[in-house]
Symmetry: C2
Subunit: 110 residues, 2 copies
DNA sequence: TCCATATTTCCAGTATATTCGAAATATGAG
DNA sequence: CTCATATTTCGAATATACTGGAAATATGGA
């Protein structure tokens, strides 16, 4: 992952509303959620949410697909993994010892 | 880690210059680097870098300590680990299968 | 076709971020 | 004490981001 791509992804997530939307989509799994359902759950105006989903999509963190009158958004797990990998790669360049606790974090969560 | 804290950290890293500074500090290890040395390596004006280091420090990602005429900055590995943990925790809430490849990423790097 | 629903696009106002020059502060050397 | 070095703080200009209202687009149903 390139630096510019990482910055774009980090910036997309560095916003309370977008981070919340992304988390909901991640938790929703492969089925995804319709834009309207997200707006309802996050209590955001549809147009504001749309703009924010667009930013997430632009960063490659989510994808959208029309389903009838709704547009369903799904998290892109690969993109998230790439971003985490980029940060981890960064961390280990100089200090492998930081990875032990991170390793533990990953273990604990699964 | 709270959402607001995560957003602050993500925003701090979502800037090419700051991300580069943070990476250098991470690679520099516990010794850290003086502000001037960072400015030289990153080819940034000292005052611009200072403002950016301040943003990183505010997010808790780096700490500073005076050493003679220089001010030495060091990466805060704990903060980075917390941020990664927050993102991982998020990811695993709904989809444990995403952790397998992440697990592999962490393994590969150490 | 006509209408309601779902979502996006456009636009303008406001807020926040970024940068740089200039001045201020802190330290150590002579 | 005076000076050079290292860094920060201040202030203003510019750029970018965020939000919400209004209008536009797309879809499916009556």
């Amino acid at each position: 992952m390139e630096v510019k791509s990482a910055v774009t992804s980090l910036a997309a997530l560095a916003h309370e509303g977008r981070l919340a939307a992304f988390r909901l989509l991640v938790q929703a799994g492969g089925e995804g959620l319709a834009a309207g359902e997200l707006a309802r759950r996050l209590e955001m105006l549809p147009n504001t949410l749309s703009a924010n989903l667009n930013i997430l999509a632009n960063a490659g963190l989510v994808v959208s697909q029309r389903d009838g009158r709704s547009i369903v958004y799904r998290a892109q797990y690969d993109a998230m993994r790439d971003l985490l990998g980029f940060l981890v790669e960064d961390c280990c360049g100089g200090s492998p010892e930081i990875c032990a606790p991170l390793f533990k974090t990953v273990n604990d969560c699964c």
